[in-house]
């Protein structure tokens, strides 16, 4: 089943020039797609239009069901009084009517999801008190609780230490094996190489296809421009951790 089908998509923030244009790609079950691009190049814009937050100014954008979204963990309010378990339970909100309490089964399932990402011991801790990697894992547990066929992850590896990163990659591989679709925006070209599809954007679509086809030197240069560095014949994207 096709989970995402986008053709000639143009989207923006409604104040004039489009933020992202010419996007055409498709994603099926059990596939993982890496979205590469520089800061401000449109990765988050793409995720937002897939979520339905931004208008489709031209072209078409079809998404199966309601995707689970793992935003950059720094965007949540860290001083808000919620525990890790509370955050995971938010994943059940969409399927529970407002007037009904969350069922016990949901709580059990939430604990199971936390266990799966290795965070069950911290279930009662305040979300804001956790480390970057731990917060990322809790957000993934939330996405898992949503039990959506499609997951959109916005730079899940940013600010995450090496050990957590390995754990995250393992979970993503599991989800792919389960037949879910994954769309992951990332700065790490090495990650992109291990998945099924790559989409390069920089205000507009630069390349799309399996890593071998999309990650050509030409495509990477068009995507990252000045931020490219060549080391030992391996091209590497160097992105500045933006100050603005």
């Amino acid at each position: 089943m096709t989970l995402i089908d986008v053709s000639g998509l143009v989207t923006g923030y409604g104040n004039g020039s489009p933020a992202l244009s010419g996007v055409t790609f498709a994603l099926g079950e059990g596939q993982a797609l890496a979205v590469l691009g520089p800061n401000g190049g449109g990765k988050t814009t793409l995720l937002r239009v897939l979520l339905g937050e931004l208008p489709v100014l031209a072209g078409s954008c079809r998404v199966a069901g309601r995707p689970a979204y793992v935003a950059q963990s720094g965007r949540a309010r860290l001083d808000f009084p919620v525990s890790a378990l509370d955050v995971v339970l938010m994943g059940a909100y969409a399927r529970t009517p407002a007037w009904r309490r969350l069922r016990r089964a949901e709580r059990t399932r939430a604990h199971a999801m936390l266990e799966r990402v290795g965070m069950d011991a911290q279930a009662g801790q305040r979300f804001g008190a956790l480390s970057g990697g731990q917060r990322q894992r809790v957000l993934i547990a939330r996405a898992l609780l949503q039990d959506a066929p499609l997951l959109l992850l916005d730079e899940p590896f940013t600010g995450v230490d090496r050990t957590s990163e390995a754990g995250l990659l393992a979970i993503l591989d599991e989800l792919r094996a389960e037949g879910r679709g994954l769309l992951v925006s990332t700065h790490d070209i090495e990650h992109a190489r291990r998945w099924d599809l790559v989409l390069c954007v920089n205000g507009a679509q630069v390349a799309f296809g399996p890593p071998a086809d999309a990650l050509t030197a030409h495509a990477l240069h068009a995507t990252y421009g000045e931020e490219m560095v060549s080391i030992d014949g391996e091209t590497v994207a160097v992105h500045s951790h933006g100050c603005g």
Partner: protein, 281 residues
């Protein structure tokens, strides 16, 4: 304290302010979490023309409050759209103009409206009808807060992910502002439009400081709001001062005391004095 229960007048006034405290407390917690304090202050100030017109026409204050706040909300929303000068400035101008208009309407006629009661409240002037209306409106607010708890939680904590969780942050914020309007309308008789902010912000600020758990914050704010009502009425009786301001003062005292309590410091960013005051908008 029992002397407050002596006369019917005092009993009614006490019931009024305690009720308002219980309603505005939890509402205030959400106002603080969603950062709507400026909107609260603005709506309360800008509704004055409606109050004055009702008072001059001899109409029920609640109607004037409702009309005033709807007009204020529309104008403020319009003003906030202006891209050139930014919403804070546009809202400040609109609020100032409307408030000034209200004062002008109150003071210009030959028999001026009782401006000080409209501004600072008059719980002792509350009738059973006023109390009933306040109770009804208050109930609406509390029920809505309960039903909307999940949406509010998501909107406050992680608006970016809200859509994927089945919540519309825009609609949730809008609904909270409507509830704010309802609460202000209910509180105008007891506290006046200038002081209603005290019950909205102060008990909630103290509760946020005292506890790290949302459920506790909500209940604590309601309790502190009620205590502010009781304490304020007692202060008013004992020291022979106006009741509305006394309640506001006790509420603010709770907040200030809570803030002085040595507490956790969650790694605050150092900012220059004006960035701090301008709220990093």
């Amino acid at each position: 304290m029992l002397e407050l229960l002596d006369s019917e007048l005092l009993r009614r006034a006490l019931a009024e302010v305690v009720l308002l405290g219980v309603v505005c407390g939890p509402l205030g917690v959400w106002i603080l979490h969603l950062r709507h304090t400026y909107a609260a202050e603005s709506l309360a100030h800008a509704m004055l023309p409606g109050l004055v017109l009702a008072s001059l026409a001899g109409a029920p204050l609640v109607l004037g409050a409702a009309g005033g706040i709807i007009a204020a909300a529309l104008l403020i929303a319009l003003a906030a759209r202006d891209r050139r000068i930014g919403s804070e400035l546009a809202v400040a101008v609109t609020v100032g103009a409307l408030f000034g208009l209200g004062v002008a309407l109150a003071l210009a006629p030959d028999t001026p409206a009782k401006l000080s009661e409209l501004l600072f409240g008059d719980p002792l002037g509350a009738s059973y009808g006023d109390l009933a209306v306040a109770a009804g409106l208050g109930l609406v607010v509390l029920v809505a807060l309960g039903a909307g708890g999940r949406a509010l939680r998501v909107t406050a904590f992680d608006a970016a992910s809200a859509r994927s969780l089945g919540v519309s942050p825009g609609r949730t914020s809008g609904a909270l502002l409507v509830l704010l309007g309802v609460a202000i309308v209910a509180s105008v008789q007891g506290l006046g439009n200038l002081l209603v902010l005290a019950l909205l912000v102060a008990p909630a600020a103290a509760a946020l400081r005292a506890s790290d758990r949302l459920a506790v914050q909500l209940r604590l704010a309601a309790l502190l709001g009620a205590l502010a009502g009781v304490g304020g009425m007692e202060l008013s009786y004992v020291a022979d001062v106006a009741a509305g301001p006394a309640v506001a003062l006790v509420a603010c005292a709770f907040a200030v005391l809570a803030s002085l309590w040595p507490g956790r410091r969650d790694g605050v960013v150092r900012r220059g004095p004006i960035e701090g005051l301008a709220g990093g908008r």
